[in-house]
Symmetry: C2
Subunit: 236 residues, 2 copies
């Protein structure tokens, strides 16, 4: 095993998925170099969660990159439109939801690639899943494969030494499966944050798509959900 | 011709190549949406040049994105190592030069893709050339093709309507050819800036790879070079 194979760049949003992904990278013997973004979110809650998760997992280093996606135009997550809410449960499959942020994962992976090359790593982890929330085009396996191909053409380390890998270990897992994996690896989900629209005290709304998926994931996994929601569970 | 086909996002560094590229996009009847980056360059000269060029070409809009590439680690253009200088003329071909910035064009194109999607454009222009300065892996035609493939998988506009194009109109042109094209299209090269290491008055050093290529380009094109260099031309 070479030195390079021991370092992994992990995209860390502070959500349930990326926390689990970081724990999986750690289990695979990688030193975790976490990368988070401040990109004009409505809330600071997400970046605070990323810091708590990074610390609790004992990452080697945690870098925050500030970028401005608001200057280009609208999406719910950058503050330009309202987050859709529903008391009817998780979103139905099909179509690209309004919470989609243009080219977000392409931008995140591009920075991860720069970080990986700078530290001599050839392994990048991203916590996307095509099972729950397949509406985003940049969460699909074909997107990840295309980025991996690009990465090996785009960089000195890819051209000269080859073998940059984009790992998406959650790709085929449901939210319940992700939670089961994470609990096995010691992830403390009380540190994570999923809600698109938390209140002023940082509590999850309980009504956005992300809250519905999270709540259902814990229910299906049959384990307690440590999240404090502002709205009661469905049917309560 | 649809509305989308009339808007193009053009990566604009303020250098000779990107100014020519923007002029080519304009000639092809696109409204130009220019995108520049402040990324921890040693100098503000480059961003000032980008503004002058954008204004002189009459772009529709010019957005500047500030990103931090220094937090990841070293490259000459981000301030961590010295810019190589020589009195022996342009660099020889072969190898990736130390001025290479990890994943830079991948990051730039990722932001251009977000911008394009936000404004409903399906055309992105980048002024890379594989002729002079083919040492950078992310200036090659196979890199551009791989990014175009990625772009059509990564975005709502690519998936739903298809046909995002990454234009690299300078790819097969020498520096002299680029200058001839630009002059034909009315580019004022006195507004542009190429030097990797200008002095405190913003004058080009005349000794870095970029200065050598620029100076040789004007000489080969047989037109006056409007650049003020701190060092005299070779053999003077």
């Amino acid at each position: 095993m070479t030195d390079e194979s021991l370092k992994a760049v992990v995209l860390l949003s502070g959500g349930l998925d990326s926390a689990t992904t970081a724990a999986i990278a750690r289990e695979r013997q990688f030193g975790v170099y976490a990368l988070s973004f401040r990109y004009g979110q409505r809330h600071e809650v997400e970046t605070a969660a990323a810091r708590r998760v990074a610390e609790s997992l004992g990452v080697v280093r945690h870098v925050e990159q500030t970028i401005d996606l608001r200057c280009f135009g609208g999406s719910a997550l950058t503050g330009a439109i309202d987050v859709p809410k529903s008391t009817a449960g998780p979103p139905a499959a099909g179509g690209i939801p309004p919470t989609y942020v243009p080219a977000r994962n392409t931008i995140f992976l591009a920075f991860a690639l720069a970080y990986a090359e700078a530290i001599g790593s050839r392994d990048i982890f991203i916590g996307v899943s095509a099972v729950d929330y397949s509406g985003y085009p940049d969460c699909r396996p074909e997107f990840i494969a295309a980025f991996e191909h690009l990465a090996n053409l785009a960089t000195k380390i890819g051209v000269e030494r080859g073998g940059i890998a984009i790992h998406a270990p959650l790709m085929s897992l449901s939210k319940a499966d992700i939670i089961r994996q994470g609990l096995r690896l010691g992830v403390d989900y009380s540190f994570t944050h999923s809600c698109y629209d938390p209140d002023t005290q940082g509590r999850a709304c309980g009504l956005c798509d992300s809250c519905h998926l999270r709540r259902r994931g814990f229910a299906e996994a049959g384990v307690p959900d440590p999240t404090v929601y502002a709205a009661p569970p469905l049917g309560a």
